[in-house]
Symmetry: D2
């Protein structure tokens, strides 16, 4: 955030527009249509303390203007481009067009519209929503420096075997039995930093599938379960986050 | 619902268990695994007015027992079966096992776990979550009569052209221009009734993609848009529901 | 729905507009402001089969027109009115203004904006969002007949004692112990039908707070719990639905 | 995150348990009950690279153990305590009980259960869910150093007048008219850092209430609106984030 000293305090702020939804269609000469749907968030760093303390908005880019800019820039893109290129183009616009804007963050989530196939043939203008989403976040400074992170989210995967968990710490709070056979499932949120791949960040919560084991000391009749009936549950869940990076990327 | 006269009023009630989540794995001899994940809701119609007016639960099937039954029945299914067959099996159990249960409704939503392909080959035990969901709702009476409705939900489709809307009523509340070219998109919820197909029900809200048209009388500089940049929006949206049925299915 | 015979099938349809969000402010002469925020859904029953089979929209009320009507009618209400009165007014407009509309359903959910109190005094124009929501659903026929249902939703209540569950059926699927002491909690959805109160409908799922009991045969060190630490859970949950009605209301 | 060099890469990871839901009841001698419901997330920083590269879990605290610890510690709290104190107590347990844990982050969201009043009197054991939530996030290091942030979230407020927006930058992307009269509404997420208040962070997205203005060049009949009928909308929305801090808190 852009910092400022104010009456003995340090004041930081950014402002922007979230959830600007835009779809762009490109029509090729052969009749095929290409389309994307993007959900865009913009945050600008700028010196606009006057708006907070003196009712002076003369340095303020209205968030409605930011929204219009998304549509105008989408229009200007007459050739299909990647969500990464659009995010950079948009962020660079704000830092170069407005003198008081020192930095811009643009985040975009792309909806997974996929071309429909009919009888094995790609349809010219029909699409269907798929599953995992492509994400991008770019930070552009006034100097032109670009920090770009791409990613995916909402990718759920599962395997029914070849996962175990044993040998962990056992103490007075431990009740979990060891296991050499379990369902392993997660919803992957992954991101990676450019140029080339300089760093990878992974967030992989457990999607738990607990082996069902109904027990009651008074009721031995309930059937025995042996790792074939599972209780999927969301509350609570294990979480694992990790990142891997080149040394030079952290300098 | 099961009706009852009570102090001059008509009283109806049902009780059950919602959101019983169960996963079932079947392992074939050739090493391949098959799995399903179901979210089950159960409602029982029974004469249990004593529980409401006399603190007498002796006719009450505990909803915890219903939950256990889902797991026990899933376990008993040693061969893979369709979600329809499991719903019928479960509902029939409740109406036949408990004398006071006169009817049972079982609804199941199946999560779209799909087998993963690696280098074009199906993986033995790896799965990935897809998009639209398969649904089933079955109503079984004590007599054994079955009413079965299958369906899909959350199937989003879109086409970028060959849709229009013109010739509709124009009155003093009408501002919408006619169009011969627009994006048409919807999230389909469809269901159909058996045996054979006796009725089809469709719910198809518009997923609106509005042509962008930024206007300001003071600012002619904003670029002209011609049906290539769109604003996707959820609030408000048009809704269309329709059903088609054989005469005999309505008798 | 409005029915129609079509090539040997029975065809029914309705169309409308969902999620029309509108806020209305009324300003009293003494400086106080009053405001409501409503989320309106409209469904019209009409004979518009020509639109489905002959590309003829001449009997179609555009859903965009329905949306505009909500705003125009809200404007015409120069005096504050109840959400019930607005729903009736709106539904009656559609059945009387359009000759081909035989019936209209209007559903409204009112957001619980509450006046703010500062130092015990009501603020003139400040509001804060509360919790449970007021709902209304009205069905108006061409004849002018009105069926009105009011309600509340998202009202969560809880008591920490004086609830039990015992004496229920015990069979081979039962593992639940009896209890004379438990937390009882639910999220109430209630509705009632007019004139006077002719019927009441209640939907009261259990919000389960399970007594915590961590057990492990190998680990006796985990502390004993006695009904003071609970696990709140959403999956699965018991559901209870009931209605009470006058006989004459069911004729 | 806890860093580690690994085959020429820098590797960081943390693991924990999210969405551990716990309720705690305290019973006073005078018959009054007190209760809280907390949703707890735990992240531990520890040196457990062996688990990633050598299948060695001997340094791993199972996330199931973390969950049990929440319940055991809640049980040990025989006197009611603040959510801040519970978060600190829990985080300090992990850093002191496990030698390999170098730091712990505990986040808790408290559900706003409020005592019910009947005829103006507080009920002994009845509660009702309110609106905004209390949050806390604490970071405890092995050394015992504590960084504590408290906050609220989901507090929606609105005023119907005395807000304007004028004098902002007008450029070729600007279409927004200036206004001296509008509804101002936001959903506040606020947090503050201890000891005393060393820093305050505010996140205040606009909840837009757009003045309705239906226009159509062909249809002048639609009523004129003058700042009394509004369209509430979520997509897109302006976002404002700011923080204020003492200099010494940033050292």
């Amino acid at each position: 955030m852009a910092g400022k000293e104010l009456d003995g305090f340090h004041f930081e702020q950014m402002h922007g527009k979230d959830r600007v939804r835009v779809a762009r269609v490109w029509r090729a000469r052969d009749g095929r249509h290409f389309m994307v749907e993007w959900n865009v968030s913009i945050s600008l760093f700028s010196d606009c303390i006057a708006a907070y303390v003196r009712d002076d908005n003369s340095d303020i880019v209205a968030t409605d203007t930011m929204k219009n800019t998304v549509y105008a820039k989408a229009k200007e893109c007459t050739e299909q481009l990647s969500v990464e290129d659009f995010a950079i183009l948009l962020a660079k616009h704000f830092t170069s067009f407005y003198s008081q804007v020192s930095g811009a963050i643009v985040k975009i989530v792309e909806k997974p519209w996929e071309r429909v196939y009919i009888d094995g043939q790609p349809h010219e203008h029909g699409f269907k929503l798929g599953s995992e989403k492509h994400t991008v976040e770019v930070f552009v400074k006034k100097s032109g420096a670009v920090k770009l992170v791409s990613g995916i989210e909402e990718l759920s995967v599962l395997k029914t075997t070849k996962s175990g968990f044993e040998g962990f710490i056992r103490d007075k709070y431990t009740a979990l039995p060891e296991t050499r056979e379990r369902i392993l499932a997660t919803e992957v949120t992954a991101s990676w930093r450019f140029p080339d791949i300089s760093a990878v960040q992974l967030k992989m919560p457990n999607l738990h599938f607990l082996p069902v084991n109904i027990s009651s000391k008074d009721n031995p009749a309930i059937v025995k379960f042996n790792d074939d009936v599972f209780l999927p549950t969301d509350d609570p869940h294990g979480s694992i986050q990790a990142s891997l990076s080149h040394f030079w990327s952290r300098m």
